[in-house]
């Protein structure tokens, strides 16, 4: 091994644990280890959606519809008809209300915006030169990362005021807005880790050469480090958005009128017919899949595009 290779291996082992020249295992072992480390840093698994996965989800809906068709007794409306009847309600709620599935999207959008802004700030605090700031932000990050989402959601739902009195104006805080805040907390903590990980994954040479060119720390950060990090952060960020969207149904527990609550209501209105239940829940899975599928695909494409180009 020449000197550069030794240094490279040393850098690799700092980042990923010890390396060896005599692998006992096939390359797949290394891939699994890398994936586990990335997952640990990003705080979630990567969605890996492929065209054939759509087939599975649609097949489930087809099976549900087929068996419901067979079980429908004369005089009652069939599964397809029932689905058609309630589709608008589940997707957008009563006219002009923007509830149902559209509320899932609204919640996920705002939670992502708030979580990203707060998470970026928290992530930058984690690499601050001031020890108390670094420690404090680390504790906040770890706390919100490791709490179950449902507990965070309950906390905000029950302890956040239902209106905020600013003296001259009273701002009402409806349940869905509380849900936005509840969801933005774990997103904040995880984005914070993504930011920290991306900054620390850059070779130290970047910092050193900037310093030798007389850049201040702030200039180095904004002009050299962060522009390079953005590329690394975008795929995990999109992945988090998909995970968040798929987590939004849990706020139906607290009575937020999103798609799962409305599905239960629609089923109730149809007299809780057992054959319709699978159809409606499968429909729900399909709409979540249809929405997240293109986004997750896009994330995979970006990941490939950005790989090895820093």
């Amino acid at each position: 091994m020449d000197k550069t290779e030794v240094m490279l291996n040393r850098a690799k082992s700092r980042a990923h644990g010890p390396m060896t020249d005599l692998p006992v295992l096939l390359p797949v072992a290394e891939r699994v280890r890398r994936a586990a480390l990335i997952e640990r840093r990003e705080g979630t698994y990567r969605l890996n959606m492929q065209p054939r996965h759509a087939v599975c989800v649609v097949a489930l809906l087809a099976v549900a519809v087929g068996s419901a068709q067979a079980a429908t007794t004369a005089g009652l409306i069939g599964p397809l008809e029932a689905m058609w009847k309630w589709m608008g309600f589940i997707l957008v709620g009563p006219e002009g209300a923007f509830t149902g599935f559209s509320l899932n999207l609204i919640i996920s959008f705002f939670a992502m915006v708030i979580g990203t802004i707060a998470g970026a700030a928290l992530g930058l605090m984690q690499i601050s030169l001031l020890l108390p700031v670094r420690r404090g932000s680390w504790i906040v990050t770890q706390f919100f990362r490791n709490s179950p989402w449902l507990v965070l959601l309950f906390t905000i739902m029950l302890l956040f005021p239902f209106e905020i009195d600013l003296g001259f104006v009273v701002i009402p805080v409806p349940d869905w807005m509380k849900a936005v805040i509840g969801f933005s907390l774990p997103i904040m903590a995880n984005i914070s880790e993504v930011v920290r990980g991306a900054v620390q994954s850059l070779p130290t040479g970047q910092w050193e050469s900037a310093e030798s060119l007389a850049f201040t720390r702030r200039q180095t950060m904004w002009m050299i480090i962060l522009p390079q990090c953005i590329k690394r952060m975008i795929p995990p960020w999109i992945n988090w958005y998909c995970i968040l969207t798929m987590a939004t149904p849990i706020c139906s527990i607290m009575g937020v009128e999103e798609s799962v609550s409305y599905t239960a209501q629609a089923l109730n209105a149809e007299g809780d017919r057992p054959e319709l239940i699978p159809v409606f829940y499968a429909f729900l899975l399909v709409i979540f899949f249809i929405y997240t599928y293109p986004i997750a695909r896009w994330s995979i494409q970006l990941e490939k595009k950005f790989a090895f180009k820093t």
Partner: protein
């Protein structure tokens, strides 16, 4: 009784500061709290164990000859990975729960699998989808030549699996497995949605009766963040202990 030892202290705290931890000074609340904690721990252990079983069977079935079985397993993995876990739990409980035979429990029908059972099954299948992939790649990582070398040394097929393939594959799997198990621990709270009387559910009952939401929230955070911390710490130590110098 355990409560009586410190009951006065916490009653004092309630009287002087308003911080109300009823499960620390009242026998009834204490029992309820312990019961909730016990159900939660059972739920976590049962779904962890079930997910491992699903993972082992899934990984084994993925190496099957039949193309149909392989497609079926691949479909299962992707389905559970790419849909919301909460909707999965509801799907299991309301859809499959309807299909399971029920018995008459004094005027109303009770299924043979209760909400706890369905929570374990759905969470186990959810985490099992990930475990399947993890175990399969772990086994794939062990070269055929290693198995052949073991055979040349006189190991039987089972012995070589037990003493050579499994120890190597397990070390490959462990980091990914840990991530998944921690994720599963946090996901078990979703069982609240189908009224499994676990910690979250019990806390909800307690704050409904005692109007002490902030206190119970603190307790919940301590409980879950503590459990995650213990699991992460234990698994990390285990990973380090299993590490073979110079390997991987």
């Amino acid at each position: 009784m355990a409560v009586e030892l410190y009951a006065d202290f916490f009653r004092e705290i309630y009287d002087s500061t308003g911080w109300n931890f009823p499960f620390l000074y009242e026998q009834y609340e204490y029992d309820r709290f312990l019961e909730g904690m016990w159900v939660s721990l059972k739920l976590i252990v049962a779904s962890l164990a079930f997910s491992l079983v699903v993972g082992i069977i899934g990984a084994w079935a993925q190496g099957a000859e039949s193309k149909f079985v392989r497609y079926l397993i691949a479909g299962y993995i992707q389905f559970f990975r790419n849909t919301p876990p909460f909707v999965q739990i509801l799907f299991f409980y309301f859809v499959l729960g309807n299909l399971v035979p029920s018995y008459d429990a004094g005027g109303y029908q009770v299924g043979y699998i209760d909400s706890f059972g369905w929570a374990v099954i759905s969470l186990g299948f959810f985490a099992g989808a990930f475990n399947t992939e993890i175990f399969r790649s772990g086994i794939e990582a062990v070269p055929e030549s290693t198995v052949e070398a073991a055979e040349a040394l006189g190991y039987t097929r089972f012995q070589s699996y037990l003493h050579v393939v499994f120890p190597l594959a397990f070390r490959v799997c462990l980091p990914a497995l840990n991530n998944n198990l921690v994720n599963l621990l946090k996901t078990t709270t979703l069982a609240y949605g189908i009224a499994v009387p676990e910690m979250m559910y019990t806390a909800n009952q307690m704050w409904s009766d005692n109007v002490n939401v902030p206190e119970m929230m603190i307790v919940l955070f301590i409980f879950y963040v503590g459990l995650v911390a213990i699991l992460v710490y234990g698994m990390h130590k285990w990973e380090q202990n299993l590490k073979i110098p110079g390997y991987g």
